[in-house]
Subunit: 152 residues, 2 copies
Amino acid sequence: MSDDHDESTLGRIETEVALLMRFGEATRRATGTAEHRVLDRAAYVILRHLADAGPQNVSALAARLNLDGSTVTRQVSALQRDGLITRTPDPSDGRGTVISPTPAGLQRMAAVQAARTRLYGDMLADWSAEDRDTLAALLGRLNQALVNRNRR
Amino acid sequence: MSDDHDESTLGRIETEVALLMRFGEATRRATGTAEHRVLDRAAYVILRHLADAGPQNVSALAARLNLDGSTVTRQVSALQRDGLITRTPDPSDGRGTVISPTPAGLQRMAAVQAARTRLYGDMLADWSAEDRDTLAALLGRLNQALVNRNRR
DNA sequence: GATAAGTACCTGTACGATACAGCTATCTGA
DNA sequence: TCAGATAGCTGTATCGTACAGGTACTTATC
């Protein structure tokens, strides 16, 4: 008897995720181009990951971000052109290149991150702290579930 | 005193949403191309909205989906080419075109929707019904907050 | 009821993000 | 040592999207 209920909940989740992606995309487009500039592309995600996980190879980035190596290569090239990362030869592997964020890159990333966080703060202004916590936790679990599924 | 806590919660939400968009995109790419074919593009979102809200104009679709009119025009053209929607002149406005889903379109959409719902069912297999409900509800509120913010 | 202003849609064009295929340089194991 | 694997880059293609401009139609004003 609870199957019907479950089905519809899954449907709602599917709907809401699709909507979120739609709106998130639009928001990224709007905020990325308008105020902060330059950090438009997937650049933000790459810089974030570099800041979190430290300097690393193109391949490692590609694997972690679920992107093709060639995509990361191009993004990284753009970031280098803008002085936000540096490429250095991997000392332990002549084929590899280690990508490190520059101070400017970290700063730029932090600024965008702060702006986004502020945005969420505005949007969720009337939410209780508890609801925010719950949302963060459930989203984390959802992402974990996504990762696990992709890994299979 | 709770400000620090709030800050970090907002940061987590920001992180998780960014991650979700990244993985969601990858998932869409993977499931869209592999099994169901044809319904790759924003086509799915358009068909869903037509199924939910009934036949409507290009402009209405564009406004609702947060897309440029030209984008919707092209998506709709592709959908028409594939026999998934029909265009009829708006009887009440000679400039307008009413977009209606065809049975084939509805069927295709339902198939993709079912596949996605199944996917979520798999991923969230070990979640309690309560957690699923809560996730659906909070995502709904988050989207509502996003819509409100865009409207401002 | 004529005409100016607005609206709906389409088309041309451009761009960003991405993937896949193929290349070169380098590494590694038998 | 050398055959196969791997790291990264480049060429090319595709998709989704936006913006600018055009045409046809509608609405409001006088």
